[in-house]
Amino acid sequence: MFTQVYGDNGKMKEYHYTGPVEHRFSPYSFNGGTVLAVAGEDFAIVASDTRLSEGYSIHSRDSPKCYKLTNTTVIGCSGFHGDCLTLTKIIDARLKMYKHSNNKSMTSGAIAATLSTILYGRRFFPYYVYNIIGGLDEEGKGAVYSFDPVGSYQRGTYKAGGSASAMLQPLLDNQIGFKNMEGVQHLPLNQEKAVQLVKDVFISAAERDVYTGDALRICIVTKEGIKEETVPLRKD
């Protein structure tokens, strides 16, 4: 059945309502998960929940989305788990190649630039992955690089990505960026406060986002190395 209406140019427009529509095979699926990265003066934190879901089911309650790349860099990947795994394998291979050719490890900035190129290489069949890189730059200061699925990236101080990103980002803007607040001291973020904030923010995300929960994996990157911490979250 169809119905006709006059369009903008005065000609008749046709609307077709064909009833049930056939769906083609989709190469993507959404596996949920939220990642978050915060940069401080001499540290960086990358955190993610550990739930892997699909549709209304849970595949795994222990599938962290932070991957260690070098001693100074951790990447968080959420979205389609198949592409997350492949992408991290490709990044690992590129890290090895760089190390063998240049006789040194890749810096965080270099990894970010490389990842951007890798992602854009698949511009017309993208990796369905939301990436956030957290690490230390050459001067030892914290760095956060956030990406979109096709490789656009920028450096910042904090970023949330994944299914609950829209819930976390405004809270981080307020607590770390001191946005929308007057007469508040802009204290620099220290490591304990940052870890506390990350835990609290994920507790809230787990309340309202069904894809976020089970446990929280926090990777703290400092010049001493990478420390991992796991905190339980709501399992429902």
């Binding site: 609307y15 209304y56 849970i58 986002d209 069904v210 709501r234």
Partner: protein, 278 residues
């Protein structure tokens, strides 16, 4: 829901599909602008019911979802139909709510007319006749349970109008998780405490294994003696404890302009209503 726009003209028989063309145009217009039409909110639920020695027990979770965001962390899915009959609703939240309210009203009137307390089978028949009339467009899946003069009965009714009469039933997105618990441990004529634990465990399975269900377990125990509505019977998922303080001092939000208009009013009556902030 009959059209009241032309009350003086005789109602045409059968279904009215007048609005489908309008809806198709609206969908097209909205998608051109990049919007999508508002979706009906589904409860994404686990509901269950069993018949035990003294009557029936109905159970439900308390999460209502808007797509994949939790809209209500503690909603009530076990609805009152009659003093001896309660109904759990899954599917579209508004449909379940309004359908059960209509049934409650009809059954109340019918019971006054017959002069007898209502039967569970009456509720089921009226429900299925209404849902079939709407050909599945009313998206509510219901589990009706109660104790009447003929005994304890449990029915499930589907959106298109079919029904099942069984000793144990589950519905909603978490039905698969819940039915597995029932299939493992259900026995006829169970005692009250064992039966309550079984329903609680079935709903808990839905809460943990289904993303559309969560928060607390509500139970409703219906026996010849009466009804026990156990709201918040169990809270298997605990909210994490926040470590930081997130209080804002007065003056944190910038005041751009301020206009004070005094209103000459007297306080006549004062009453306090507490908000449920849990």
């Amino acid at each position: 829901m009959l059209n009241n726009s032309r009350p003086c003209q005789p109602q045409s028989a059968g279904f009215s599909f007048e609005n489908t063309r309008r809806n198709a145009v609206l969908e097209g217009n909205l998608s051109e602008l990049g919007y999508s039409s508002p979706k009906a909110r589904k409860t994404g639920t686990t509901i269950a019911g069993i018949v035990f020695k003294d009557g029936v027990i109905l159970g439900a979770d308390t999460r209502a979802t808007d797509d994949m965001v939790v809209a209500d962390k503690n909603c009530m899915k076990i609805h009152y139909i009659a003093p001896n009959i309660y109904c759990c609703g899954a599917g579209v939240a508004a449909d379940a709510e309004v359908t059960t309210q209509m049934m409650s009203s009809n059954v109340g009137l019918h019971s006054l007319s017959t002069g007898r307390p209502p039967l569970v089978v009456t509720v089921t028949r009226q429900l299925k006749q209404m849902l079939f009339r709407y050909q599945g467009h009313i998206g509510s899946s219901l589990i009706v349970g109660g104790v009447d003069v003929t005994g304890a009965h449990l029915y499930s009714v589907y959106p298109h109008g079919s029904y099942d009469k069984l000793p144990f039933l589950t519905m909603g997105s978490g039905a698969g998780a819940a039915i597995s618990i029932f299939e493992d441990r259900y026995r006829p004529n169970m005692e009250l405490e064992e039966a309550k634990k079984l329903v609680r465990d079935a709903i808990a399975a839905g809460i943990f294994c289904d993303l559309g269900s969560g928060s607390n377990v509500d139970l409703c125990v219906i026996t010849q003696a009466g009804v026990q509505y156990l709201r918040g019977y169990d809270q298997p998922a605990q909210k994490g404890k926040r470590e930081g303080q997130y209080k804002y001092k007065p003056g944190t939000t910038a005041v751009l302009t301020k206009t004070v208009t005094p209103l000459p009013l007297d306080v006549v009556d004062e009453s306090i209503q507490l908000m449920d902030t849990q």
